[in-house]
Symmetry: C2
Subunit: 196 residues, 2 copies
């Protein structure tokens, strides 16, 4: 019913996360109504990002340089390494302003069932960095889900005795409600309780 | 904190309807993780749609030809004209499979406060079509909101006596609940009640 060019745009938009057919249509119709230069600015931004952005040779974060801004920053504490799954996680942690060390982006989490083994992630790089760079602490900040926990355990096992290894605390989200907390989270909050 | 290319992509994505900063970040991160050819397919689809899609010379619907598929379809009833605000509305009506006439897309609704006057819409084209093409009925299918109703009234006034003018029924949405219907909708459902 729609012209092939519109159908194709809708199909491409549907591949985005959280975008169903209805949303894809709404987005496509919006883009068709938008002045051409504005709509093409989105296409250009996407092309440019895909061309320019690559992985930092040190930590695996996104950057347009050889080494990312965080790794180049002389004020960062080079004795602490925070291990995350994705570059997006670096941004989440940076937003807290609580962490001043360096990062190591694995590029995913271990998941043998999906065919993600240690050699598919930046694991060897991690162990090399820990051994060579005077790292005193490794903070495991993989996601608190099955694959993230498995990844954290795997790394902790490998690093035991070589360096101090810590894990992000699990517990109740701030502003949350005891009543709505699932039992696993509440159990973790209980076992991880702290002296006040 | 992010590289300029990513920031720019996020900024462009934020201009899409219903996309806030958080969603824009999620979409941008997804696109960065996506294989380059898939991500560029979206940019290409967008560029192509903006280049190829234009307005049908007859009805104002989107098309890649001079005249759209609906206007070219010999099986459509050429004596009925359905007036809608946007090309997207044509698709909504086509999905019902209840309408077999032609369309006329205004390109918006009258809204003097926003500076949208009759000459900013395809009004003259509409009146010309009604006068010249043996139209027996004009179905007003502008949105059932303030500007849509004002637009419908304006057209009905102009066409009175020249042609049969009808308006889409207002009332309770099918599958809806009397309890949750607003009083205006319920009032319309009442005043528009039909013999069973």
């Amino acid at each position: 019913m729609l012209s092939p060019a519109i159908e194709n745009l809708v199909a491409q938009l549907t591949r985005l996360p959280g975008v169903g057919t209805r949303t894809a249509h709404r987005l496509a119709f919006h883009l068709l109504r938008t002045p051409t230069d504005e709509a093409l600015a989105l296409a250009a931004a996407l092309r440019e990002a895909k061309e320019r952005v690559r992985f930092c040779a040190d930590c695996g974060n996104w950057t347009e340089e050889e080494i990312c801004e965080i790794c180049r920053d002389a004020r960062r504490d080079r004795s602490v390494l925070c291990v995350v799954e994705q570059p997006a996680d670096v941004m989440s942690l940076e937003r807290t302003h609580e962490y001043r060390g360096l990062y190591h982006v694995l590029g995913g989490a271990l998941s043998p069932l999906d065919g993600v083994d240690p050699e598919d992630l930046r694991m060897d790089d991690l162990f090399r960095r820990v051994d060579s760079n005077g790292i005193g602490e490794v903070v495991l900040a993989t996601n608190p889900n099955t694959t993230g926990e498995a990844t954290a355990s795997f790394i902790a096992d490998r690093l035991r005795g070589r360096v101090r290894v810590t894990r992000l605390a699990s517990g109740l989200p701030v502003g949350g409600d005891l009543e709505y907390a699932d039992e696993v989270t509440l159990g973790r909050a209980l076992s991880g309780r702290r002296e006040v």
